[in-house]
Symmetry: C2
DNA sequence: TTCTGATGTTGACACCGCTCACATACCCGC
DNA sequence: GCGGGTATGTGAGCGGTGTCAACATCAGAA
């Protein structure tokens, strides 16, 4: 039990792989996450990940589910007026996570029940806080769109612009 | 001079490569565009593309620029009320093109002047049609966000929902 | 006509996701 | 305590990718 003598079995490789993938995701975005590099970071052979995830997409789905839980918790308790800016700031602070969570992977979330459940739970808070379903969708759409436009460089990611756009006069 | 005897030189390989990439983009999305497959489609060796594009990103940038020109032309002449639905329907009809044009590639468009110029020109129409710059950004953000949410399966891509959300009562 | 630059080809390298056969270590029933 | 079954990790290898360097071919100007 002394130190890290690198035993044959890792202990909690699944979590270690998710952590490594997370690091890569935050550093280099979605495309920087390679199964082989993730394994390398966890100090394990390239194919070890397949004992814990069916394939790369399953690993990414598990990661996205984890982030949806965190995201929902961070957004849930807030008053409506704060949710927009919080949503946008999360996207700008963690572009990789945001793109992963809301990217094309979400479309296939029916094949990843944990993801589907986590995203549903996180997004329920959005609907609950709005005066009407349609108003919720319009607000969500606007905030989500501004996030993408800023992440992709179509709009400057300035704090001043965020507060101005999300606080219409009147 | 009979038929297509496959001469050593292609004639207009650059355009042929862009066309092939376009087909792949529309069929399988961004990830389905591989330089080797594009070359295969154009009936040319895998590395021939490098005589016309610095790398894969440059090819995609050229493609995105082409689509921005087309997109701007299609949107330009319309009255303001039609622009939102048109924008959204384009995204839903051509997800690959939409994701490419507005994806992370756009952020690096400073390295691809043709892309930067094409996107600026296309998006100028959006600003021009709105009553105020902030109103333009809010409307753009909402439409853009709804497009992404529908493409990624977070919202159903129903025509009825589109018209309802884009035509607020009153 | 010659030769020079543009265009296309071949072969190779490193990396990727993934599969199969094999090695190792833990745990449960005896 | 011990053996065996199972979970976990390893290694070699396949087909795919983007990219580079060296070479082949052709068109057009000198």
């Amino acid at each position: 039990m002394s130190t890290s003598e690198k035993p044959y079995h890792h202990g909690d490789l699944r979590a270690a792989l998710l952590d490594a993938a997370d690091t890569l995701l935050d550093q280099g975005g979605d495309g920087a996450v390679s199964l082989r590099e993730v394994a390398r970071m966890a100090g394990v052979s390239p194919t070890a990940a397949y004992r814990h995830f069916a394939d790369k997409e399953a690993l990414l789905a598990a990661l996205a589910a984890r982030h949806f839980a965190q995201f929902g918790a961070a957004l849930g308790g807030r008053p409506l007026a704060e949710m927009g800016p919080a949503y946008l700031r999360f996207a700008l602070a963690r572009p990789g996570r945001f793109r992963l969570m809301f990217g094309p992977l979400l479309q296939r979330s029916r094949q990843h029940p944990a993801l589907a459940q986590a995203s549903d739970a996180a997004l329920a808070g959005l609907y609950a806080a709005a005066p009407s379903p349609d108003a919720a969708l319009r607000a969500w759409g606007m905030v989500h769109g501004l996030a993408h436009l800023m992440l992709d460089g179509a709009l400057p990611a300035e704090e001043e612009l965020i507060t101005r756009l999300l606080n219409p006069p009147g």
